[in-house]
Structure formats: structure tokens, C-alpha cells
């Protein structure tokens, strides 16, 4: 899948991808939680997607950073689902979504603390053992640090190193976090273990205040994020790259043009490396 350009499979654009051909990704990604245990129409769509495209899955609810116990029943079901659908890469967020015995359905920031590193490392290892596959951990966007004892980059690097997991590098999230927290995005990426990147996410975002961007996945990717992406891929070997879009699907031509733009950058930088290798 190296160098392939994928798109998130959402119900709103399934028809465009699978039947009309107005969106033409090389691979598809979906959140297992949104499809597990389903029959009927959506099972048929899922089967069609799996039959025709390489698949990656991006989890939402493992809550790797949560103070709660891991949900082993759910993880067992997840393993069956990943196996059945021949999922090439499974990723999850470096965040938590469950607290005090209640799911919250969005990504809360884990405190950048030493004990949280120990906690998350232990849980990622357990999940990888149960799933019998590596997990790629995504650097999430966050809007405030909480009780931090170390920097974000230290936190991410310690976890990826000690958990022996892969990294899902979300370039848009690096841009968002650098903007929101006033650091240099390139300096941040330079410090990541780029040899552990399993794949890359690209997305659009929304600036809601003069000093705050929210990671919405609802708008086109902006030029500075493309520039950061181009700068990044020059430093690493080819991996799959995925465009995330969760809202505003009306303009499929524009979404396809984003896929094309990512593809052009990949071709510009990674094709050369392939040929010289």
C-alpha cells in the first residue's frame, strides 16, 4: 500500500466511491465501530468496499488513555471484525473517550505525564497482543494541555518507543497543535520516529478563534498543511496517505481534487525514491 492515497469511507459518499466512480481513492479507511455488527444495506456496502479496495481501520472507542479498564469483549469483537475484513492497518487515537463508566464519543486529551505514559504503554501492548497485530497510534489534535509534566513530543515519543507500536502521523493535527500551542510544526515532526510511521492522515480544519483551530475534517486541506505534508514526506519512506473528510460532502469534485493533489505530491517525491532504490 506504500504511496497509495486513500479516503475515509462514509455513508454519504459510499455511492460516489463504489458505484459512480466520481471519487477514486486507492484504498479505503473506516471506523470499525460504525460498521461492526451491521447487516442489511450497510453490510452490503461494506462487503463491496472490502472486495474492491485495500482496507485500513481507524478505531474510535478503545480509549487507550482512559482510567477505565479496557473493554475486552469489545476488543475480541474488534479482532474478529478486523480479520474478517482483511484489514491491512489498524490505528487508534492517543486519547481517551471513556471516563467514570461512561462513553463520551469524542477524543479527550491525556495528561502528558509519566504515569500516563506507563499506563498507555501497558494498554497498547495488551491490545496489540489481543488483536495479534501492531496498532498505529495517532497524534491527536488537542485544544488545551491538562496537568502536563512533559511536552507533547516527549509524551508521544516515549509511548511509541516503549509500546513497540506504529505511529499514524496526522499532519493536519501537527499543524493544528502547532498553531494552537505555539510551537514549530517542522521541529515537532523532525523529532518523531518517522521510520515508525505506518501511514499518514491529511484533513481540513476550521479556525474558530484568532488563536484556536478545531480539527473538524469538514473543509478542504489548506495550503500550509500541504506544504507541511510535502516537507514531511521528503524525509521518509513511502507509506499510505489518507484523506479524512467527515462532513460537507456536497462538492465531490473538490474532494477528488484533494486526492489528486496529495497524489501529485507523492508522485513528485516518492516516485523518485522508488526509481533510485
Amino acid at each position: 500500500m506504500e504511496g497509495m492515497v486513500g479516503l475515509g469511507l462514509r455513508r454519504d459518499i459510499a455511492e460516489e466511491i463504489l458505484n459512480r466512480g466520481t471519487l477514486s481513492p486507492d484504498f479505503l479507511e473506516f471506523a470499525p465501530e460504525n460498521w461492526m455488527g451491521m447487516g442489511g444495506t450497510w453490510k452490503r456496502v461494506l462487503d463491496q468496499a472490502v472486495e474492491r479496495f485495500p482496507i485500513t481501520c481507524h478505531g474510535l472507542s478503545l480509549s487507550l488513555g482512559s482510567p477505565e479498564e479496557l473493554d475486552w469483549n469489545f476488543i475480541r469483537e474488534l479482532k474478529v471484525f478486523l480479520d474478517e475484513n482483511q484489514v491491512k492497518i489498524f490505528s487508534e487515537h492517543l486519547s481517551y473517550t471513556k471516563s467514570k463508566n461512561a462513553h463520551l464519543y469524542d477524543l479527550l486529551p491525556i495528561p502528558f505525564r509519566r504515569d500516563a505514559v506507563d499506563h498507555v504503554v501497558d494498554r497498547i501492548r495488551k491490545v496489540q497482543d489481543m488483536l495479534e497485530r501492531p496498532v498505529a497510534i495517532e497524534n491527536v489534535s488537542y485544544y488545551t494541555p491538562v496537568a502536563a509534566e512533559m511536552s507533547e513530543i516527549e509524551f508521544v515519543n516515549q509511548i511509541v518507543d516503549r509500546a513497540d507500536c506504529r505511529l499514524l502521523l496526522d499532519v493536519n493535527n501537527v499543524y493544528v497543535n502547532a498553531f494552537n500551542h505555539g510551537y514549530d510544526a517542522r521541529e515537532y515532526i523532525s523529532q518523531l520516529p518517522l521510520n515508525k510511521v505506518a501511514y499518514i492522515h491529511m484533513a481540513g480544519h476550521e479556525q474558530v478563534e484568532p488563536d484556536l483551530i478545531i480539527d473538524t475534517h469538514g473543509r478542504p486541506i489548506i495550503d500550509p498543511v500541504y506544504e507541511l505534508f510535502e516537507w514531511t514526506i521528503k524525509k521518509m519512506d513511502p507509506v499510505p496517505v489518507l484523506l479524512e473528510r467527515d462532513y460537507n460532502f456536497e462538492d465531490t469534485e473538490q474532494i477528488q481534487s484533494e486526492l489528486n493533489q496529495i497524489r501529485a505530491l507523492i508522485k513528485k517525491h516518492w516516485r523518485v525514491e522508488h526509481e533510485s532504490a
Binding site: M38, T41, A102, P109, D115
Partner: protein
């Protein structure tokens, strides 16, 4: 557990704030930022429930509905990791809390259940279809039923009447929700208690109609004759037209 008690408490305070709105004192946060987490979490829950229960929302009005959503999310402890199943937990929570009685909308449980069942039948795992042939005799051959259906028992006829008219018609009502084989769309059929019994009994017995129609006659208090045959034929022909009966089981 590697997590220190202090870190656990910090994480729990943020989670609690997202559910209840009671702003916590958290160390090392950027001023004016954490409300975005509550807003994002609440948006996901509200969108999910608004989309799942459009009729209930419309019947109660925005304000009363918002209270139900808020009450559930603050006190209801959502357990499913799959957000599309959250509407079922919402229904179950308000049924257990007897919210309908409390807000004097006694039809609430029925309406939430009915709207949830439309989602449930649309998304439920595929069931094995029987082998069948299209031609046969309604009375002499065993019928092949569409397995993708559920029967729901209701106290108020919210499936056949506007809710404000349903409230004074408390009784025993049944709705048969089913998934169409080709399109996967969900339809429903209002059933009388007698037809519900006939449908369920035939499904369970896997015997030809002629062999058990005497039971139905006794239950309905009528002679097992031409009148019953005509009524059964009409009912089952309707089920065939709706693709609830697919044909006749292969022997």
C-alpha cells in the same frame, strides 16, 4: 494500574465536565479552551439522538427534548462503544426512569421504542433466508417467511395515529417491522392481536395453514369455514405482496 490517583481524578473531572457542564478546576489548562470539549461531545450525542428520534423530537418540542437528552447523558452512563447504538440506551434509560409518566407523555416509551426498532431492523445482522419456491398453495404448503422482521408490542397506537390522538387510545397494539430483501429498506405493518398470533404461530409451527387454522377459528370464536379461509387468504396475500412471505418452503 500505573495511573496515579491524581491523574485519574484529573481525567475523570474533564470527562464529568463534558457530561454535566459543571466546570472543574484543572491544573495546567489554557483559559477558555475546555468548553470546546464539552461542546464537541454534546454535539455528537445530540446529533446522534436527534437523527434517531425525529418523531419524538417533533412531538415533544425542542426544549422538552433537550432536557431528555441532557438528563440521559448526565446520569445515564452510556455503555456502548458504538455510538449508533446509543439511541437504544437512551430508550432504555427513559423507560427505566419512567420519564414518560413524569412529563405526562405516556406514549414516550412506545415512540422511542418504535423509532429505535426502525434502526434496529435496518441494521441488524443478516438472517438466513429459507430456501423457497415462488409457486404453491397458501393453505396446503408451508410458507417461507422473510426472516428479517421484529414484532413490537405497544400500549399506544403511535404507529398509526398522530401522538396527540394516540394518548386516549391505550390498549394492545402490535407492529411488524421488516426489512425488504432487495433494497434493505424498513417498512412496518400494523397487526391486530389475532393476526399477530396467527403470524407468530405459523412461523413457529412451520406447518401448512390448513393444519392449524382450526386453532385460529377457536381463538376468534368463528366457524372454520369459508369466511375464515377468505380472511386468512386476504391476510397472507397482503403479506406476500409486502415480501413478508417470500413463497413456499422447499420440501
Amino acid at each position: 494500574m500505573n495511573l496515579r490517583e491524581e491523574t485519574r481524578e484529573i481525567q475523570e473531572k474533564l470527562g464529568e465536565y463534558c457530561r454535566s457542564g459543571e466546570e472543574p478546576e484543572l491544573p495546567g489548562i489554557s483559559p477558555g479552551r475546555i468548553h470546546h470539549y464539552r461542546r464537541l461531545v454534546q454535539n455528537v450525542v445530540k446529533d446522534t439522538l436527534d437523527t434517531a428520534f425525529p418523531i419524538t423530537l417533533s412531538a415533544l418540542g425542542e426544549d422538552a427534548w433537550a432536557l431528555l437528552v441532557s438528563d440521559f447523558f448526565t446520569a445515564g452512563l452510556p455503555q456502548t462503544p458504538q455510538v449508533w447504538k446509543l439511541p437504544f440506551e437512551f430508550y432504555r434509560y427513559h423507560a427505566e426512569q419512567e420519564t414518560g409518566k413524569r412529563i405526562q407523555r405516556e406514549y414516550l416509551d412506545d415512540l422511542l421504542l418504535f423509532e429505535w426498532m426502525e434502526i434496529e431492523v435496518h441494521t441488524m445482522p443478516d438472517r438466513e433466508y429459507p430456501e423457497f419456491v415462488e409457486k404453491g398453495n397458501l393453505f396446503l404448503d408451508r410458507l417461507a417467511f422473510n426472516p428479517e422482521h421484529e414484532i413490537v408490542q405497544l400500549e399506544y397506537p403511535i404507529h398509526t395515529h398522530p401522538v396527540n390522538q394516540a394518548l386516549d387510545k391505550k390498549g394492545d397494539y402490535f407492529a411488524l417491522l421488516y426489512r425488504l430483501p432487495e433494497s434493505g429498506n424498513v417498512k412496518f405493518l400494523a397487526l391486530s392481536p389475532l393476526n399477530t398470533y396467527i403470524f407468530s404461530r405459523l412461523l413457529e409451527a412451520e406447518r401448512p395453514l390448513n393444519e392449524i387454522k382450526g386453532e385460529f377459528a377457536r381463538l376468534a370464536g368463528i366457524e372454520s369455514g369459508r369466511y375464515l379461509d377468505e380472511a386468512l387468504e386476504k391476510f397472507f396475500q397482503d403479506l406476500m405482496d409486502r415480501e413478508l412471505i417470500l413463497g413456499f418452503l422447499k420440501d
